[in-house]
């Protein structure tokens, strides 16, 4: 038709127009015969009948039409027919496979979903492609946002990591302190003041007492193989002592029975004596112990014994290390040291002037009372002091200090998260808002093209926010892995933190930190993208897009 019109002269064009006008009139007459209510197609201004006040929609029930693509355009036929001939799947999507009378395939109902077998692009894929291209085009703002998020995450990771390590160190110290243990000391010189079995039973019956373990403490010289010699206290210990319960041991099984000829050392003492803990156990594995006493003539006597190491405790026996030996051995050592035995293996002798009240059995000079909970420690200590007259030592003060320090540190890091997140969130919001201000027309165009606001804000901008947030988080983790050692050294130097407190180990030892950073970065980034877009779109409601 276009080519025909171009070939026409001016008069032919006019005649053609007149013929089309006549066809319109004829169509209008046909419609009137059917009783349709619409006008005859003429333009009317003013509408003297006042029809505009009671406008009603024209009658329904007119036959449906397939749509603007229902007639296949002539110029697409060749390509489409060629595609249909080679692709049966596409043929099924366009028609039922049978060519028409003219031998060509017909597009029968292209908008009828029930007839569709063709490929429809997934909405998520379209949104992702849009978001990605948009990000690539506006490289500067996403890069700046990612950098802000990476800096935020890096700061949180560093602080959190150091705090986590310090907290771990303090927890280990706390465990080594045996915070529920109360040591009750009697007068060692006076046998009548020693802890009798009855006294121990009375103490065990006190409320809040979990266990009562007698203690014999004697200073001894110890040596591992040909290593250094150390002088330290040796405690008599029983198999059920909570101080070296299986949970406290880094290696070994501890005492299996009260006569077990073994020794239990803390790991720090093992290292101090020149030994090492391997997978197969401590090396050397035999502890040399020497007891000494001075007789009335001023002569010094020694007794040497060898004990296989049966356990290594994880804690350090803070603040002073001690070695644990079987109760029977230390009892005998106690008697030998105080002159009740001439010979280590000899018979027990009554001291001169001892009456009938003298007991043949050695009585402990100290008692370890284990409280059920930390809250029971102070009342128990007071009772032991008041009622039994013991000199009482507990580590409640140390425990309180460690707990308060750990709490303050945790609060400090937690307190830092809020301002850091706020500043970074505001930064992202400002960045996005400035960018969106320059792109308002684009957002408005998307709205005019019928893209729902949710799809723009939550789909496109939300996805962009997640992409940017993930990039920032990834960059922060990478930077942290590279720089964490240097940062720890710097913090250790500046704040005089013990090197072993924050040394070594990957950041992934604290997964909550990664989760916190991931949650923060993704939330901030997504919110920073979605919120300005949503507000901009909301403000543009009902506005006409201007040329």
């Amino acid at each position: 038709m276009i080519a025909r019109r171009r070939a026409m002269g001016r008069r032919e064009v006019v005649r053609d127009l007149q013929q089309r006008a006549a066809a319109r009139d004829s169509s209008s007459r046909r419609r009137k015969r059917r009783g349709a209510s619409a006008s005859d197609g003429a333009v009317r201004n003013g509408d003297p009948t006042g029809e505009e006040e009671t406008h009603s929609a024209p009658a329904d029930g007119v036959p449906a039409f397939d749509g603007p693509w229902s007639d296949e355009p002539a110029r697409y036929r060749a390509d489409r027919d060629a595609a249909l001939d080679t692709d049966p799947m596409r043929r099924a999507s366009w028609d039922d496979g049978a060519p028409g009378d003219d031998g060509r395939h017909r597009l029968r109902a292209p908008f009828d979903p029930s007839r569709v077998a063709g490929r429809r692009p997934g909405l998520l894929g379209v949104i992702a492609r849009f978001a990605w291209r948009d990000l690539r085009h506006r490289a500067l703002v996403p890069a700046a946002t990612s950098f802000a998020i990476a800096a935020c995450c890096m700061l949180l990771l560093t602080l959190g990591d150091v705090a986590s390590r310090l907290f771990g160190h303090q927890q280990r110290t706390l465990a080594a302190l045996a915070p529920t243990r109360i040591v009750a000391l009697a007068d060692i010189a006076d046998p009548s003041q020693r802890l009798t079995p009855r006294t121990m039973r009375d103490i065990a019956a006190l409320p809040g007492v979990a266990a009562v373990v007698p203690r014999y403490e004697r200073r001894v010289q110890v040596r591992l193989g040909t290593g250094d010699e150390q002088t330290l206290p040796a405690d008599g210990s029983l198999p059920g002592d909570p101080d070296h319960a299986p949970a406290q041991l880094a290696w070994g099984s501890g005492f299996l029975d009260s006569r077990d000829p073994g020794a239990i050392l803390p790991r720090s003492l093992l290292q101090k004596l020149g030994g090492e803990l391997t997978a197969a156990g401590p090396r050397p594995a035999v502890l040399m112990v020497r007891w000494s006493r001075v007789d009335r003539d001023g002569l010094t006597h020694h007794v040497d014994r060898e004990f296989p190491v049966v356990g290594i405790t994880a804690g350090g026996d803070f603040p002073f290390p001690r070695v644990r030996l079987p109760m029977v051995v230390v009892q005998r050592a106690d008697l030998w040291s105080r002159g009740f035995l001439d010979d280590w293996n000899g018979e027990l002798q009554a001291p001169q002037g001892a009456g009938r009240a003298w007991r043949a059995l050695p009585l402990p000079a100290a008692l370890s009372v284990h409280a059920a909970t930390l809250d029971d420690v102070e009342p128990l200590a007071a009772t032991l002091q008041r009622r039994f007259g013991f000199d009482v030592r507990s580590q409640s003060d140390s425990v309180r200090t460690v707990r308060e320090t750990a709490g303050a540190l945790t609060s400090f890091v937690g307190g830092l998260v809020v301002p850091v997140a706020t500043v970074v969130g505001l930064l992202i919001l400002i960045l996005q808002a400035v960018t969106l201000f320059a792109r308002r027309d684009e957002l408005h165009l998307l709205q005019v093209l019928g893209v729902p606001r949710c799809r723009i804000a939550f789909g496109i901008h939300g996805l962009q926010g997640l992409l940017v947030g993930t990039t920032g988080l990834g960059a922060a983790l990478l930077a942290f892995l590279v720089l964490s050692a240097a940062i720890r050294d710097a913090i250790s130097g500046v704040f005089s933190v013990p090197a072993d407190a924050i040394a070594g180990g990957p950041v992934f030892a604290a997964p909550w930190l990664i989760v916190l950073c991931a949650g923060l970065s993704l939330t901030l980034s997504a919110l920073g993208s979605i919120l300005p877009a949503w507000l901009t779109l909301w403000r543009m409601r009902g506005r006409v897009l201007e040329d």
């Binding site: 333009v43 849009f130 040329d547």
Partner: protein
């Protein structure tokens, strides 16, 4: 279905305007105007600048609310719809300045409303859409520019991409604003051919606001806005030519 046996007024895209009044504040742009538009016709809208041509197109497309009166468009189910949101689904609007998304390629811009916008539900075959887009771009002299961004195109090319978007969108009513304003004669003829094709071969209702004499010459119907009133000047133009 043979379109010759269907009354044009019964096709989707038939428009009935009754007592339409458009106001901006207290200024009345168009007063109490009634007219019909038929599918398969290319209608031009004439008038001096600022007389309200774009406002009328906006009102037809459901992008602005009429002060009084109403606009009805026949949908694919045969019903006449007047709600702006429903009318928006039946209309494609082509702006004079293109209004393209700068970050998307030409091809993505053309397909935007069909892949991401409110006409997505009517997209059934991405391959068919790709074929249609390539043909439309080729028809408008944009072959080989599908992957370019709007920033890499001239003003005339941007305008033609916007027209391509309107042509590809499967909406029965096509509303175009000054499509040939920035084009040389050869490209203007391509655009005019494409608009005629949309009306005569695809059966769409095409309304074009334009001053282009060439375009006015091939229009099936010519409407003109003068002093807040709309007049059909088709017959007058023909008689003028005959005289």
């Amino acid at each position: 279905m043979d379109s010759d046996f269907i009354d044009p007024i019964a096709r989707p895209g038939a428009v009935e305007v009754r007592g339409l009044t458009i106001r901006y504040g207290r200024t009345e742009v168009l007063g109490r105007t009634s007219f019909d538009l038929r599918p398969g016709e290319l209608t031009t809208l004439e008038g001096p600048s600022g007389v309200g041509k774009s406002s009328l197109l906006d009102a037809l497309a459901g992008q602005s609310r009429a002060a009084r009166g109403g606009v009805w468009i026949r949908d694919h189910g045969g019903r006449m719809v007047s709600d702006p949101a429903d009318r928006h689904l039946l209309a494609s609007r082509v702006f004079q300045t293109g209004n393209l998304i700068g970050t998307l390629s030409v091809r993505d811009n053309v397909a935007l409303r069909v892949t991401l916008g409110d006409l997505r539900d009517r997209l059934v075959d991405a391959d068919a859409l790709a074929v249609v887009i390539e043909h439309v771009l080729a028809e408008l002299g944009l072959a080989g520019l599908g992957e370019r961004r709007p920033g890499q195109l001239s003003g005339g090319q941007v305008q033609r991409v916007a027209i391509a978007r309107g042509l590809v969108e499967p909406a029965p009513l096509l509303l175009v604003d000054e499509p040939t304003a920035n084009l040389d004669r050869a490209n203007a003829m391509c655009v005019i051919d494409a608009l005629q094709c949309a009306a005569h071969e695809f059966g769409r209702t095409v309304v074009v606001a334009s001053h282009d004499v060439e375009l006015l010459g091939v229009a099936d119907r010519r409407l003109a806005i003068h002093g807040r009133t709309l007049r059909d000047v088709t017959r007058a133009a023909a008689e003028e030519l005959l005289a």
